[in-house]
Subunit: 445 residues, 2 copies
């Protein structure tokens, strides 16, 4: 476990050595850093920017506690004067962010930090770690939501996620992406997503008899979900039907299928349930599902009411990482650009404008300089980046916008063009242009 | 952040509902659960079992604190009597584990829990989450170590990892796998891996002049590494050479290449350094490296001394998840087996025997019943699973074996057959057989 007093040490060593160098050189002009990605992973047509408000609020509170300072002193790399400076350090810059849940495209900043350069540098590694986690997980989870065509999708993936923080914070990303529930108790309670549970094979196996296991569990938990595939799926369904006939006061909300040909078994199970007069019992499917499997099941007309997903979603298995960059784009009021092969950045503090059709659909984006007056009215649209932290002070109203990320995503799914919502590998063709001033600066630099 | 008092809630809801059902049914016979995987990910020929001792020690200390119990009460799912039982609950079972750093193959238990069934159930989700993280990351990292053929590999991936816990705990896995260092300050300090730092492009860009940035940084940090590719890599190398000529008291330990054709640039940089009489300056390469890229660079004779790796290793991008199972294999002394299609388990408490050739090389493994007397002496070998927790008490000597995981891995790399060490996709052909008794039980069940 990492406690708050040590969190400031969760950074790359060079952030601290560079910061000490700036301190020694009295380099304290304001810098602007942009957090963005250069290209989408192959299986993504957009990313959902998530975690950036959450992360910005957290890093705004970073402090170097005594335990952390002692450990730094022991490395022998840092001077006492610098450690004293770190002890008193409070972030005193500005952070602009996209509201969480905003669809974001290559080269668009998810956030920008404007601060004396050492301040901006000290936030980098942790900010990137946190924003990547939620952005990657939300961007995967929303694909499952799209594939499920309105059927509830429930997270069963806690055991597959990368450690404790991913398992807890990940539920926040899932909630924002539109999942209906999670099996993860702490994650669900902390981030306001319904907690759901069924039963495991071990419960059935621990009883001598599957029927008896069903009977006991359904008595303990009225309206529960019974897992029917421990031995033979359709036999399991018949036992559920028999249980409801033998004990008419028992109500079963759903059965869960967790192995075999889910589409075929769902059809047969539906028939068994319906012919026994139990059309109210729903069918939940799980077992290595991803968006392609869900899509194929629904295309094939499988009568599945809800999907439990874990392994593939828990680590965003097909795209577990996004190559976020946090790059210096201005220093002391001057644009800064790195020229290394294939890794050019857009200079200066920026703004992203999103343009909408009359029905609310996205027409495309323009990336402009933050202080640029766009001459052409066709370029104007909604400015997406907003000040969240100003001179080290968090704007509570702006922070509250993170709470509506879920609604923002639901809305975005109605506004994104169909090509961006397609789940297969390919280009969305979504238009992201540079403003005239940004284009001019980039070509000059 | 998750504090200790809430950690017991980091579980799947059904663990708690099943446990309450067992409590109500007075089901308290001893159960054995096995933690294993059924098949290797496509790009892995073995996995390094890591985290299981660490995780077992942690779950052995799990407690339901008042904050957790209050939250559970608020769900309305749990009876007061059961919450009282949870308040007093202490794990009172046994846990056998492989020592960390042991190469492990399909169907071999990484650990087994023997306990009253509710006790074993309460550990499941967290145990799986923690063991998977370290096992997946160590199993990826060791491939980079193999590819680097003795050259140091340094972790630069903190910003790409999935959240805070992965970033800290992951360094433990990297240390065990044989990495030489990490950029991650907290991870390195906590888990005893050297912390390394170079410099970022932002430092160069913040200065008006690359030469001046090099001069200042090398003055602040004697024997540092200078990043030479911010503008033009070979121009950057020439500036480093010029700096060492102009200021002979400045020592530069290494240059870092972070973009472009690394092999070609390394050769040219080496030539520039050598012809200036600086054969002591090392070359470090980074930029999206994985084991294949490292292998290709070394095959091509690139004069690279050390590798910095991040994105691909940080999430084990080619195999970010392993489908661990935690299955009930015995209850009340009776074998238990699930029959669902394609998901059969090996029944009963087990032992894994590893057989060695005279030179120490692995000959193959036998999975047997834990209490089975192997008749054929050829079947015998080293029993790998060892008791770590007995009746809820951690064996400190056995726990200390986790500290030698790094040495165990280094040794294993000399003992694994060449086919298991190959990095390309394919089968290792490593022999894992079942003992006669286990084979008989499986065929009967």
């Amino acid at each position: 476990m990492v406690d708050d007093s040590e969190l400031a040490l969760l950074t790359d060593l060079y952030q601290l050595t560079m910061t000490q160098a700036y301190w020694k050189e009295a380099y304290d002009q304001r810098a602007t850093f942009s957090l963005f990605f250069r290209k989408l992973p192959p299986q993504r047509r957009f990313m959902l920017a998530c975690g950036q408000q959450h992360a910005a609020a957290l890093v705004n509170e970073l402090r170097f506690g005594e335990a952390a300072l002692t450990k730094l002193a022991e490395t022998g790399l840092f001077e006492t004067g610098f450690l004293d400076w770190l002890r008193d350090w409070r972030f005193e810059g500005d952070i602009h962010t996209l509201p969480e849940g905003t669809p974001v495209f290559p080269n668009e900043p998810l956030l920008e930090v404007d601060a004396p350069i050492a301040h901006a540098q000290l936030l980098e590694s942790l900010l990137m770690n946190l924003v990547q986690l939620e952005t990657v997980l939300a961007s995967k989870a929303v694909r499952l939501v799209i594939a499920a065509q309105g059927h509830p999708v429930v997270d069963f993936g806690m055991r597959r996620m990368h450690g404790i923080d991913a398992a807890v914070r990940g539920v926040r990303a899932y909630r924002n992406a539109g999942l209906a529930g999670t099996s993860n108790v702490l994650g669900g309670l902390r981030h306001g997503l319904a907690i759901n549970g069924t039963m495991a094979h071990s419960y059935v196996l621990a009883h001598d008899d599957e029927y008896e296991a069903f009977r006991l569990f359904a008595r303990h938990y009225p309206n529960t979900t019974l897992l029917v595939d421990t031995h033979d799926t359709l036999e399991g369904v018949r036992k559920v039907v028999e249980l409801m006939r033998e004990e008419p006061d028992i109500r079963v909300q759903a059965i869960r299928l967790d192995s075999g040909d889910l589409g075929d078994l769902a059809k047969q199970a539906r028939q068994l349930l319906d012919s026994a007069g139990h059309s109210e019992v729903r069918i939940i499917a799980s077992s290595g599902l991803d968006e392609d499997a869900i899509n194929a099941l629904l295309e094939d007309g499988a009568p599945i009411d809800a999907f439990g997903v874990g392994t593939q979603m828990g680590v965003s298995a097909d795209a577990p990482v996004i190559d976020l960059s946090y790059k210096l784009v201005a220093y002391a009021g001057e644009p800064r650009v790195k020229h290394s092969t294939g890794k050019t950045n857009l200079p200066c503090a920026k703004q992203v404008y999103r343009r909408y059709a009359e029905d609310g659909g996205y027409l495309g984006d323009v990336i402009a300089l933050r202080d640029e007056a766009l001459a052409d009215s066709a370029e104007r649209g909604e400015p997406l980046l907003r000040p969240l932290v100003v001179a080290g002070k968090l704007d509570a109203d702006e922070m509250a916008r993170a709470d509506s990320a879920k609604e923002r995503v639901a809305q975005a799914l109605k506004q994104l063009p169909a090509d961006a919502l397609a789940l297969d590998d390919g280009e969305s063709g979504y238009s992201v242009r540079l403003s005239p001033e940004l284009e001019r600066l980039r070509s000059e630099s």
